[in-house]
Point group: C2
Chain length 328, copies 2
């Protein structure tokens, strides 16, 4: 099968790519896992890490706002598209027009290109709990009342995925993600980025500012569990998903103070003491608008598991990204 | 004040225009009703009925998909925009691309033009109960799960109005309308159009096909009450509306069989017998997806009243549109 991943140089895109290249996990029309014969990794940026040297991989750098580019990527051979590319929450808040161009018009370009193949490919859309707003606890049927431009654009993308699916143009699926923690690499412009930074940076010996209060809660999910959930939603039976193709993924809901306590227990006080308070009113306001508890029955029914604990999240990060060691 | 109405040649646009020209009802920044000094009626079509000869009125015919056109209509003098222009439900279902062009991109053009004035004008957006789907009873906080392209486009418009308002670009308000009954004039491509036709046509001596079952229920509102509600939502205090600017308007919820019974009581059996059964599976499916009961607490709190009865709706139509007589 041919798979296209937008945002293919990003954290989730790259992780998913390595997984589906390593062994057949995405199912075909017969329900059996299929080999990936071609994998296109599309992104606005050249990959920071070298992409896999696997001959099945093609790296394409370009602008998702260019419709012709998308039409050439998503062609008559394409079986599945994973659409991760996005301007993240903080970025879309600062640059209103760029956020709409990439997150709304770019998403429409993906759906239009998939529609034009005439073969109703699967389109798996990465949404976010930023589609909610003002509720502490959310589930699959909570009304979407986003309080950021990013959340608005993701909510619009969900509506489009449902409508294109209903019309038979694509076989769409949307996964609403909790905040991904611990993201590897460098901080990005996501308002949620601190939730990774306050764990990642101290484990590597660096001091880091925490922009929110210790009482702030976040709904979080590891990159590993997120990639697994994307495979599962790709493989889910479309008819059983029904008209609304959006599934809210579950996560765990620690306070920031609990995150730092677990870091201290796991790595020692010296590590946790590298986190200092650096309040940021914009980040606090955005985070306060997000839900921190998810009761996603559909994700549970589909067998999508959140992480067992914060300890597991930290340990997995240290093993996968830091070769099993940290700076004590 | 200067007011722009898109869809200004349409049923609601024209009715609102005549009202606000007749007496000051739209309030200004000081909360007092203001005279309309200029009223732009914009539509894709030349008005079927001659527009008011009032010198304050300017009729502009053009394409809402043309951004420059909107930028010239909505200028630095504009205080309020009523955005009614749309491809209706049946039309957007048949012509997918045209529906998105007019209902999504056209709406963005309105919001962008309003944003560029730099003076945060009021933008009043006409949404529809088609934003819901699969629920029999809805209220202001029901999740939006549209089951038509038209409903999807209206739901997206609501999200955009909220985001542009949150950013301070416009002072947006959305009114979710029940099905408008009795629409004057000729049938249009709206899937809901039959609900007017089965009352309007027999009163004028014409036979008419009813596409749905007698048990089908519709949530309905008269044009007169709708125009009143648009004035009220324009005048509402923005801060008290909060982050979600959408208000679900209430209506009455007769079965189609009840509509025909009331028609018979009001005008006689000979009139009601002009309605014959002509099932249409597409219309039935769309109507079955719509809610038929609204419990809109926000509309009630804002003093927006639905019609007292179906009898009142029919009588008002006969008096306003048929000079007080019908073909018995």
């Amino acid at each position: 099968m041919k798979v296209v991943i937008t945002g293919g140089a990003g954290m989730l895109g790259r992780r998913l790519a390595l997984r589906i290249l390593a062994k057949p996990e995405l199912t075909g029309p017969d329900g059996a896992p299929q080999d990936v014969s071609k994998l296109v990794l599309f992104d606005a940026f050249d990959p920071v890490e070298a992409p896999s040297e696997d001959p099945r991989v093609e790296v394409v750098t370009g602008d998702i706002c260019n419709r012709e580019t998308l039409d050439s990527l998503i062609d008559g051979e394409t079986d599945a598209v994973f659409h991760f590319a996005a301007i993240v929450s903080g970025g879309a808040e600062v640059n209103f027009d760029l956020g709409y161009a990439v997150n709304l018009d770019g998403g429409r370009n993906v759906l239009e290109a998939a529609r034009r193949t005439g073969r109703c490919p699967k389109v798996v859309f990465a949404s976010s709990l930023a589609v909610y707003g003002g509720e502490r606890s959310v589930d699959d049927s909570t009304a979407l009342t986003p309080q950021t431009s990013y959340g608005t654009q993701k909510a619009i993308g969900e509506l489009l995925v449902n409508d294109y699916t209903r019309k038979g143009f694509v076989d769409g699926r949307t996964l609403r993600l909790p905040t991904i923690v611990i993201r590897p690499g460098k901080p990005n412009a996501a308002a949620s980025g601190f939730a990774s930074s306050i764990l990642r940076e101290p484990l590597q010996g660096d001091e880091v500012g925490n922009p929110v209060t210790p009482e702030s809660r976040m709904l979080i999910l590891s990159p590993k569990r997120a990639a697994q959930a994307f495979i599962e939603i790709h493989n889910a039976d479309g008819a059983s998903l029904g008209i609304n193709r959006a599934v809210m993924m579950n996560g765990i809901s620690p306070k920031v103070s609990e995150m730092l306590d677990v870091l201290s227990r796991y790595a020692g006080d010296a590590v946790a003491d590298r986190v200092y308070s650096k309040p940021d009113a914009m980040v606090q306001e955005i985070v306060d608008g997000w839900a921190w508890y998810s009761d996603g029955a559909r994700a549970r029914a589909l067998g999508m598991e959140p992480d067992a604990s914060l300890e597991e999240i930290i340990e997995t990060f240290v093993n996968e990204e830091l070769d099993g060691t940290f700076v004590s």
